[in-house]
């Protein structure tokens, strides 16, 4: 077991080094540079000396190796630096954005997993029946809809036409609500983006669960359980569903890693102040430090989530532990 963990750990160290390097190179390979965002729109009327001074100040005139050195140093000291465009410490930006992203994407992941698992189980259990076909049709239909479109339709029906829910933002921050009122306000703002997120992401869990459940249902021990006269509910949930959950757990852990990256499209449609939007803007404005910081967070959380999954898997599935240990 210890050897297994150590081996995995080494693997991850290599992956992280690669990712960190790519993360540095990719933004710099993109055409264009952050000058206009550093200098403002009067950039066209600036002398070359002024432009040079700006580049100099942000260390963009250093050789690429030098820049890489500074970048590595900053990662180790946890110094993410200033955003070029927003001119504020990146740590501060992330502190403001991360809670909202965790709320929206985290809740979205949990809900879509629960819903997907439940319906996947039912669908597989009733394989070939009307219920199964209807569920399948519905989920396929959902997955075929683009997220921005679903979001826009929901907004125009429930916010603009009916006026039940707010159109944008994560809360009515300027109204200084406190306690329960603030909570209700946040929930109201959360409903539409969360619904959209769940609607578009639930299908994959559903499909995996259904497929995995179908496999399990074909196993001998289910047949035996049936032959023994075990209650249907017990077979369905205790014997079959628990075993069929393994692949879902893998996907869940993978998605968990991506959660911190936010849901860019949905955050944009609902003007939700999450990390996804921050990342998208940083790419558009060639905001190197911000691109690096946001991508690093995602990289690390994906790697960590994978690592956790590797650690947990032997406990979930005894077969894995046996092969390796």
């Amino acid at each position: 077991m210890g050897k297994f963990v150590a081996g995995k750990f080494l693997q991850y160290v290599i992956v992280i080094i690669l990712m960190v390097t790519l993360n540095f190179l990719l933004p710099r390979v993109m055409p264009g540079n952050p000058l206009v965002f550093l200098a403002g729109e009067d950039v066209g009327f600036m002398s070359s000396a002024e432009k040079e001074a700006i580049l100099e100040k942000h260390g963009l005139n250093d050789s690429i190796v030098q820049q890489y050195g500074t970048y590595l140093k900053n990662i180790f000291t946890g110094e993410f630096g200033f955003s070029y465009q927003q001119k504020r410490p990146i740590i501060e930006l992330l502190k403001e954005r991360l809670p909202w992203t965790i709320l929206l994407s985290g809740l979205g992941l949990v809900l879509s997993t629960i819903i997907g698992v439940l319906f996947g189980t039912i669908s597989a259990w009733k394989r070939g029946t009307k219920t199964d076909v209807n569920l399948l049709t519905m989920f396929m239909f959902l997955s075929a809809m683009p997220s921005f479109w679903v979001g826009m339709i929901l907004v125009s029906v429930f916010s603009v036409q009916l006026g039940w829910l707010p159109v944008f933002g994560a809360e009515s921050a300027w109204s200084n609500l406190k306690g329960m009122d603030r909570f209700i306000d946040i929930v109201k703002h959360l409903i539409l983006p969360l619904t959209t997120l769940v609607l578009i992401s639930v299908t994959s869990t559903f499909m995996i669960m259904r497929y995995s459940m179908l496999n399990v249902l074909g196993e001998d021990y289910i047949m035996i359980a049936k032959a023994k006269g075990v209650k249907e509910k017990v077979i369905r949930y205790k014997h079959a569903m628990r075993n069929a959950l393994l692949p879902v757990a893998t996907v869940f852990m993978l998605s968990l890693g991506f959660t911190l990256g936010g849901a860019t499209v949905i955050e944009t449609v609902f003007a939700y102040p999450g990390v996804g939007r921050l990342m998208f803007e940083s790419v558009l404005s060639r905001d190197y430090p911000l691109i690096q910081a946001t991508f690093l967070i995602i990289t690390f959380s994906v790697v960590i989530a994978n690592f956790l999954a590797d650690l947990i898997y032997p406990f979930l599935d005894p077969k894995v532990g046996r092969h390796n240990g």
Binding site: N33, Q86, V133, T137, V269, P273, L284
Partner: protein, 594 residues
Amino acid sequence: MNKNLLSVLLIFTIILSNFSTASAETTVASLRVGITKDENGLNPYTYVTGYPGLDLMNLLYDNLFQLDVDNKPVPWLVKDYKVSDDGLTYEFTLHDEVKWHDGKPLTAEDVKFTMEYFIKYPKSRFTNPLKSISAINVTDEIKFSLVLSKADPNFMIQPLADLPILPKHIWSTIDKPDDEMNALGSGPYILEEHKSGQFYKMKANKDYFKGAPPIEEIIFPIIEDSTAMFNALQSGEIDVISSSISPELVNQFETNPSLKVARGPGYSTSLFQINAEKYPMTEKAFRQAIDYAIDKENLVKTVLLGLAEVGSPGFIHPSSPFYNNNLKPVFDQEKAKQILEDAGFKDTDGDGFREDQQGKKIDLTTLVYSNNPIRIRTAELISEALHNVGIKNTVKAMDSTTVDSLMWPDFDVSKGRDYDLGVWSWSNTMQLFPDRLVDLFHSDPTLGSVNIGAYKNPEFDALAEKLKNTIDETERTNLIKQLQAFVAEDSPIITLYYQEIVNAYNPKVYDGFVFQVGKGIINKLSFVLGEKPEQPANEQPKNDEKSAEDNQTDSNEVAQNNTSVYIFIGVLLIAVLAFFLRKKKKTDKDDFDI
């Protein structure tokens, strides 16, 4: 008896409630203005973009002069001023009751300090116009004079009506202005709160020297997605939006009874940029043929649904006093073909496209920003027009930074360029200062700092240099008109259109907006009491003309407003239909596999 008492009471309440609404009109408790971007700290060194950042900053700070609705500079912090005949000495007297947000008085020393500070710590927009000042003399608390090394016809607009005055007692100790978050000024509003990516909150500066502003509290929620912004306005979550409404939605907003639409000329100039450095675009005849091939009026009609003015071939907007009205937009595809034919661009191999003068194939690429559907549509229509006259070309939409890096590498025209054609646009300052024609088209990169098409004509250069050294207003107008004629004749760019600005707001919350030409209703004047000229003349009549049509097409409008509900129902219907179809199929097939 009791009933009578009740009715008397009722009448009283009604009267009282009327009174309360009447008094609410003079000051508005809270206004929500949707903005598209987070603008960082709102002081002159840290705001990010000219729109809406500069407008927000201008609510916190004051300039010596202020542009009025027609973009003429009028005295603001300045009470009195005198200019010497040679245009070299300016004498000013400030209003004496002006106070900073912290209660300290604003004096001539602050003005002097600001000018010196911007020279010491450059911020190009504010620093460059100050370079013509050779001496600043403070006579007393409120009197000072400026001496110029060279007369500058735009001195009143920039720096005087553009430079925000900084408080000396705060900025004198600041040596890293770019990192400074302080936004204490003397303006009509005081910044109270900023939550990154979410909102700004300003409250009225009750001690403002022009009187307390009409709005107690302004909140600027940040909504980047324009659809979300429009939705928020329609659902009443915000009261006015800073961005212009896209043409296809204008009708929907105009027919919404709870909203008011203000329209007017915009100064943002859309053009078809030609790389005059690259063959065959080096040939004047080739560029002229492109001009003749493009139907600008049709672009305005189909892409912008009429909400734009057709571009003048000389670049300058027709509402500008410097506009050369002898220049008319051209469109004649037969003539375009003739010009190409005469210049030796013939289809020699019969593939339907012209070859160049040496018989080599021509295949051009038009670059366009991928985030702008109007420009993409424009590029496509132009591409079709060029095909019609036999010029082979394709449209390539890419993200804006990439397009910039090809058309304007490092934002330095001396570093060359790598493109054929592009749909491009300049912001409204280009129209505010007609001298910008020199920056746009002079062949020397130090003078023609935004000549991104590398246009070169020695005669134009000579005239442009002459303009730089001319102060006399009539002669300047004359020169600017001649410059436009060169642009029209040589076609280094094809001016396509000036898109109209269409703003929408909820008049029940606040109706004191004024439309600044080329800018729209989000400007300082809209938020300061006592600066309320009548609404622009072009706004009311347009609505009246429309109302006759509206009555006939009422049912259509209602249908349009409910489109989303219908789409929603449509989706449900499809789902139900799918459900039934599946059900039927099931009878043939018992087992359903995936």
